[in-house]
């Protein structure tokens, strides 16, 4: 045979060689290779490889596998029992060390448990869809002229309709419109709902099973609706309601064609009802026909098995190209996002509900990991420190015949026992901090419940074992390395040489972390307070904002005006300085550039009610405010309109209309504190207000609130009162900063307590070892302060190095992450940066000296007597 020899897959050959009996290996391997070569020639490479692999796997049978000898002959159970007993005894003997270890580990493990529960819950999102891996969402990256690109989670319904009609690359296409909000009426019952519109494909793509009704036809006809179980119960008191008719928003009669199971909590799509998309089409609603109408519509598709995404993408691109050509200065680039990448996912505008950014999930995992490592270091450090006392045990075990592997497993078991004990405490701590975590920020509070499932308990256990193994690994491998001869000879510092260097590094890492977190907390909380107390340029104190919620605002105003506590009352379409904004380009007659200008509508009472300072011109007056605007100073400056007096009565163009400037107010910040002041225009005239601003003068807030609430219920019994004090509103707007304060605060607390505990352990240990030395020094005339200094010296270097790393690192972190986009920053001085470090060093010194003092003050005779 003169064929070229082909090499079979090497991994499988190696695997086979590894498990095959030596005496038959050559024969079998030879046969396999020969056959492989024949197959290679006759059936081609792929087949030959597949057959070869299958043959190797089928070799896994008793007649072929060799006997793996290792430790087959040891008495496992007895040894493990012995290990556990020894571990328990050594835990009991060193109560201080054990409790330091257990407490330190449990504190950090509580954080770990939190992270595990959180992450496993977040990743359970949308995992119940049977077709999950084939579901994709079509996203839109929208570029407007001069305004950069915004990434939207949405797509216009037109995209969905055209795509499903003209292309066949997707198996199912479900456009979703999130605009079915309003009241459903059944006789006396009125329930306001948040529903969606979609088509029949919706039920094929997603796993939202119908209890009643036919998913093939439920949403075929216009003016039909599928309710959720829950909504059906609330309306009818039963779920079998197919065929009933409801009134929607006092206009449409909707026929119920199905009842769906409630969407599970871990679905990012949440709805009370699904209306037929066809309704929008027959109504000829612009939502369904406009390419640019995409603010609340989504497109989900089911990709056929084995279909390449490229084809779908190119179909979508083709469609987008045609539509983009019709609109000027507006380009939509469609993209595909897998269902699994939606939640948690990258931030996009107009998500369906709250979507946890994957950034948040990752940072929580990283921070938890850091804290856990810090606690593992404690265990490692203290175990190494203690190892001298246990070196005799190791020596004896080795002489009697213990293998290194057995010694390692002994010490690992000890560590795992400690971490399992810590798990019990950690579990209670976890229960304690859980409610706090749930209110951390709105991402967390809206998406997670931190429910404990069996799976999560299993993770907890695995986690504890892993932590134990991690903590025990270093001490175990160090102790098992010892040579019996040198131990039994009584060389006292067998380990100290290597061990101490490592201990110092680990302690330094711990203190760097503690200081770093502490400094971050200081900085972030200062920034937070700064933002809350920032002078916005108008007065927010004692202002209660009531959301109008679609009611007749005049009725509400009349009702509120009755209360003596209400000293001022005004209306607006928006609230400034809490994160939402509306803007457009404004132009003056002067042919200068147009500028982005923020705006909202106010009534004639607003400016005085909110304490805006008018520096030129007049306020709005009732009935004659049409076409007139009040602007701020920044607006004049950016459009070169001269001084406030000069600017009066000048004309500007805004929203394609001409306006006359009648007044100028002092600059104020209508956006968040981290953004710069911007040009602003107040408009008035006819508008539908969203908020009523009540300025209150009252000492009894509860009483006033209940009066307001009562008045509200009289006017609108169907909706709850939504009212919030301006200061609370602002606090909510900065909740991201406040959640950073909480997170770093917790982590700093944990890291500091762990490292101080560890330090205490080390200090106890060092004084114990050097007790005789200290006593002799004392006898020879050393003062107490000499002794304290002697022991603290080695730690001092660690602290200085830690501070030198932690301060710049924390400063950098603060500037890069929290402050990256902020314009108005706090000033950072010496104390903000080094205060935390100094405080921690002070605590650390106190810890060390407490131990040293005890030793130094004791009676020398006691310590030297017994030798």
């Amino acid at each position: 045979m003169t064929h070229k020899r082909q090499q079979p897959p090497s991994f499988y050959s190696k695997l086979f060689e590894w498990f095959c009996k030596e005496n038959v290996h050559d024969e079998l391997q030879g046969d396999l290779e020969e056959e492989f070569n024949i197959n290679y020639r006759t059936q081609g490479k792929t087949h030959a490889h597949r057959i070869y692999k299958r043959e190797v796997i089928k070799m896994l049978r008793p007649s072929v596998i060799k006997k793996f000898k290792s430790q087959r002959h040891y008495n496992h159970t007895a040894m493990f029992r012995n290990y556990s007993i020894v571990a328990l005894r050594s835990l009991m003997r060193n109560k201080l060390f054990s409790s330091i270890n257990i407490i330190g580990l449990s504190v950090s493990m509580a954080v770990g448990l939190l992270a595990i529960t959180f992450v496993s819950e977040i990743y359970s999102y949308d995992n119940f869809h049977k077709n999950g891996s084939r579901i994709y969402r079509v996203t839109s990256d929208i570029s407007r002229d001069n305004q950069g690109t915004t990434f939207y989670a949405t797509s216009s319904i037109l995209t969905g309709i055209r795509y499903s009609q003209e292309f066949s690359s997707a198996e199912k296409v479900a456009p979703i419109f999130r605009g079915m909000s309003g009241d459903l009426t059944l006789e006396e019952t009125v329930i306001s709902i948040k529903g969606i519109y979609s088509n029949n494909d919706f039920f094929d793509i997603f796993t939202f099973p119908l209890l009643y009704g036919n998913p093939e036809t439920a949403l075929s006809e216009p003016y039909t609706v599928v309710l959720t179980e829950d909504l059906a119960m609330r309306l009818f008191g039963k779920t079998d309601v197919v065929g009933e008719v409801l009134e929607y928003s006092t206009k449409d009669q909707l026929t119920i064609t199905g009842v769906a199971k409630n969407p599970p909590r871990n679905s990012h799509l949440q709805f009370d009802a699904i209306g037929a998309l066809q309704t929008l089409v027959v109504r000829n609603s612009s939502v369904a026909t406009n390419w640019r109408s995409h603010t609340a519509s989504y497109l989900y598709i089911l990709v056929p098995d084995g279909q390449k995404l490229d084809r779908i993408q190119s179909d979508l691109n083709q469609l987008a190209q045609q539509e983009n050509a019709k609109v000027k200065g507006y380009t939509i680039t469609p993209g595909l996002e897998a269902m699994n990448d939606i939640f948690p996912g990258r931030p996009r505008s107009n998500q369906f509900g709250t979507v946890m950014p994957s950034k948040n999930v990752n940072s929580i995992m990283v921070l938890a990991l850091i804290v856990i490592l810090a606690a593992c270091f404690n265990y490692t450090n203290l175990s190494i420190a203690r190892s001298i006392k246990r070196s005799k045990e190791v020596g004896v075990r080795k002489v009697v015949g213990a293998r290194r592997f057995q010694l390692i497993s002994q010490f690992m078991i000890e560590a795992i026992m400690v971490s399992l004990l810590a798990l019990v405490i950690a579990f209670f701590l976890f229960k304690l901090i859980k409610p706090g975590f749930l209110t951390l920020n709105f991402y967390v509070s809206r998406t997670t419940s931190l429910e404990l499932t069996i799976q999560v308990y299993f993770y907890f256990l695995a986690f504890a074992i892993l932590v134990g193994a991690l903590a025990g690994l270093l001490p175990a491998s160090m102790m098992s390395k010892l040579k019996p001869v040198s131990i039994l000879k009584g060389v006292s510092s067998v380990i100290s040489g290597k061990g101490i260097g490592l201990q110092k590094v680990l302690t330094a890492i711990q203190f760097t972390l503690s200081m770093g977190f502490f400094i971050l907390v200081t900085l972030v909380s200062k920034q937070y307070r700064y933002a809350l107390n920032y002078d916005l340029g108008f007065s927010t104190e004692n202002v209660l904002n009531v959301s109008v919620n679609g009611n007749d605002h005049q009725l509400l105003i009349n009702a509120f005006q009755q209360f003596p506590e209400v000293t001022g009352i005004s209306t607006s379409t928006m609230l400034p300085s809490v994160g939402s904004s509306q803007y457009a380009f404004a132009k003056a007659d002067d042919p200068s550039d147009s500028v982005i200008t923020y705006t909202f509508n106010v009534d004639e009472a607003y400016l005085s009610n909110m304490g805006h300072e008018l520096i030129a011109g007049n306020d709005f007056t009732k009935g004659s405010s049409d076409g007139k605007v009040v602007v701020n100073e920044m607006f004049l400056k950016q459009l070169n309109l001269g001084t406030p007096i000069e600017a009066l009565n000048k004309q500007i163009t805004y929203f394609q209309k001409d306006w006359t400037i009648i007044g100028v107010v002092k600059d104020f910040n209508a956006r968040m504190v981290n953004e710069p002041m911007a040009p602003f225009i107040f408009r008035s005239g006819e508008f539908r207000p969203s908020y009523i601003n009540l300025r209150l003068a009252t000492n009894d807030i509860t009483n006033t609130m209940s009066k307001v609430s009562e008045a509200w219920t009289k006017i609108d019994p169907n909706h709850d009162l939504e009212a919030m004090f301006y200061s609370d509103e602002i606090e909510r707007a900065y909740s991201e900063v406040s959640s950073s304060v909480k997170t770093y605060g917790l982590l700093a607390g944990v890291a500091i307590s762990i490292s101080i505990l560890g330090l205490l352990g080390m200090a106890v240990y060092t004084t114990e070892i050097r007790l005789k030395e200290l006593t002799i020094r004392k006898v020879l005339g050393a003062t107490i302060s000499n002794l304290v200094l002697l022991l603290s010296k080695s730690f001092l270097a660690i602290f200085i190095i830690s501070a030198a790393i932690a301060i710049p690192a924390a400063y950098y972190m603060f500037q890069q992450t929290i402050m990256a986009e902020s314009v108005n920053r706090i000033s950072i001085g010496f104390w903000e940066l080094s205060g935390g470090a100094l405080l921690i060093i002070a605590i650390a010194f106190f810890t060390i000296s407490s131990q040293t003092l005890k030793a130094a003050k004791s009676n020398p005779a006691e310590n030297l007597r017994n030798e």
């Binding site: 024969e27 391997q29 046969d31 290779e33 020969e34």
Partner: protein
């Protein structure tokens, strides 16, 4: 039967080895069984059968030559021992006897 009861698969392997005469080794046995009985067996399964029968003394084996295609690994040739032939004969006798006892009428009836 003296404890040399043959399994069905073992019987086929033994016969195949005898058919192949001088050239019976792993690959050739496998291929022969595949072509005659249309039965795809894994080399592992064949090994189990061969090693059991060798333990029972039904076959014996010797190491043969190696070649490049086998990655330099030697072949192992198999040969049926007298004991093996006796066991095969026993098996055949039992079957022949049973076949002879089957009523003629029934056979015709079924084949018809």
């Amino acid at each position: 039967m003296k404890g040399t009861h043959l399994g069905e698969f073992q019987e086929i392997v033994l016969l195949t080895i005898m058919v192949l005469n001088e050239n019976a080794y792993g690959v050739s046995i496998k291929r022969e069984i595949k072509s005659r009985a249309d039965r795809a067996i894994s080399r592992g399964a064949l090994h189990t059968a061969l090693s059991r029968m060798e333990d029972k003394g039904l076959i014996k084996s010797w190491q043969g030559e190696a070649n490049k295609e086998r990655g330099g690994m030697p072949k192992r040739y198999y040969e049926v021992t007298n004991k093996g032939i006796a066991a095969l004969k026993d098996a055949k006798d039992i079957r022949d006897q049973l076949w002879n006892e089957v009523p003629k009428l029934r056979l015709q009836h079924n084949y018809a």
